[in-house]
Amino acid sequence: MLETSFCGLKMQNPLILASGVLGVNKNNLLRAEHGGAGALTIKSISLEPREGHKNPITAVFECGMLNAVGYSNPGLKEAMKEFADLSEFSVPIIGSITAGNAEEFASLAKEFEKLSFSALELPLSCPHTPGFGLLAGQGTPEATKAITEAVRKETRKPLIVKISPSIPNIAEIAIAAEKAGADAINCGNTLGPGMIIDINSGKPVLHFKVGGVSGPAIRPIIVRCVFDLYQSVKIPIIGLGGVMNGRDAIEMLQAGASAVGVGTAIHYDGPEVFGKISKEMEAWIKAHKYKSVQELVGIAHK
């Protein structure tokens, strides 16, 4: 009932592990697979190894989470070793790469073409890492076009462009990606950035001071973005942001998403959250006499 296919990826359910939540190595990707995820995205990989920002890199507040991890990752060379063999996985795995400009993106994509990832995702939307994403000016239609075109030349894998919900003209960005050859849009990255201050010391809690907001706090904004994008682009959309349960996942589908990303929910319910959400979705779908998830996509537009 939950089986679906997204950009040619066969999935047992529409739930995708979000990039950067677990996913730094095969161990924790396996954990998310065993937790019931329909597909997995790896932590974004850059050309060089990065330690990321100092701690604290996360701060959980009443309605979600702030993070400023700063793209810590072992770099391309180590990633090529870690992900050389993906045969132990039975769900599709999406590679994610991050870079400062189109040339670097293209050279990463070229290397990743040698690995057996099922798709490739380009986050052009991180709000808290100097030299990358929004802080490198990648949140414009022009940059989106340049980077997507450059990567498109290097990869035959389905190409997903991940955009920022913080950008008012989000549809323009998605259209630029679609025209440049993207096969899907991921909407989206964290919102903000935001800040939390420890009032006793008067210091921001995150070491980078500001961080992207995720979790329940951003869900209504993501749902609105997905709703808008569904009317603006023809390529399929991943709805990602604040999905905690079956109801939230169905809401994303109804707004127009064909697949649903899950990240911060793992903080509350562990990697087993995928199984929990799937069960809740199935129960709702049965109770409402639908037969498949595909029927739900875009219902809110009718």
Binding site: G23, N27, R31, P49
Partner: protein, 262 residues
Amino acid sequence: MPTSDYPVSYPIKKIVSETPSIKTFYLDSEISSSPGQFVMVWIPGFDEKPFALTKNGKEIAITAKKRGAFTEKLFSLKEGSLLGIRGPYGKGFEFKGAKKACIVAGGIGMAAVILLAEEMAKKKIKIDFVQACRCKEEVLFEKRIGKIAKLHVATDDGSCGVKGNACTVLEKLLKEKKFDCVYCCGPEPMMVSVLALCNKFKAPAQFAVERYMKCAHGICGNCSLDEHLCCKDGPVFAREQLGKSKEFGKTHYEKSGKKTVI
């Protein structure tokens, strides 16, 4: 629904020099945790690292050994300086139903088991406590342990107790006695040897394992030990779990996530 989870800072109330390289920092904050769990300690605006609580309840304390940048900065703080705390995190030791226990600690691994000893003593559990350290000056919490357990010290240079390592003492104890459980925390090579000994004597055992921690709440994935997340599923693991591990004693993940041989 969700609660918040970020550091809140408190003034340091008291600093005690325990040994030439180890200090205890007391804070006026209340946290109830179970032995083996840990907290994240934040030097506001500087960095944040994992530590065990060595006092728990109406006042809390952490005990740190000077190693690198973070602990150097920590050691430069004065009474009244602010330290942020969040937690507790992870799963602690299990000692329900135990009557006779052996605790084995190496170096600053002591910090993770001192509250365990005190909690077990409250439950009238008989404890043999093996402490291994470099030399006489580095023996930690001698008085606190003396009150509640039989202390066996092993030093590298023989300046206190037996000359040798923790396993020298533990092997002798395992030959003489049967323990309901052996509890261990120390450098990973030492824990590997203790695990082997416990396997040989078929003694149930639990180990507090260190991995590089960042978020401490099961999100970043840096603290992997096989499919386990050390910050959530650990840091305490049972002998059987570690026996099956492909990574214990062999590999861990650095701050960048790079897999490295221990």
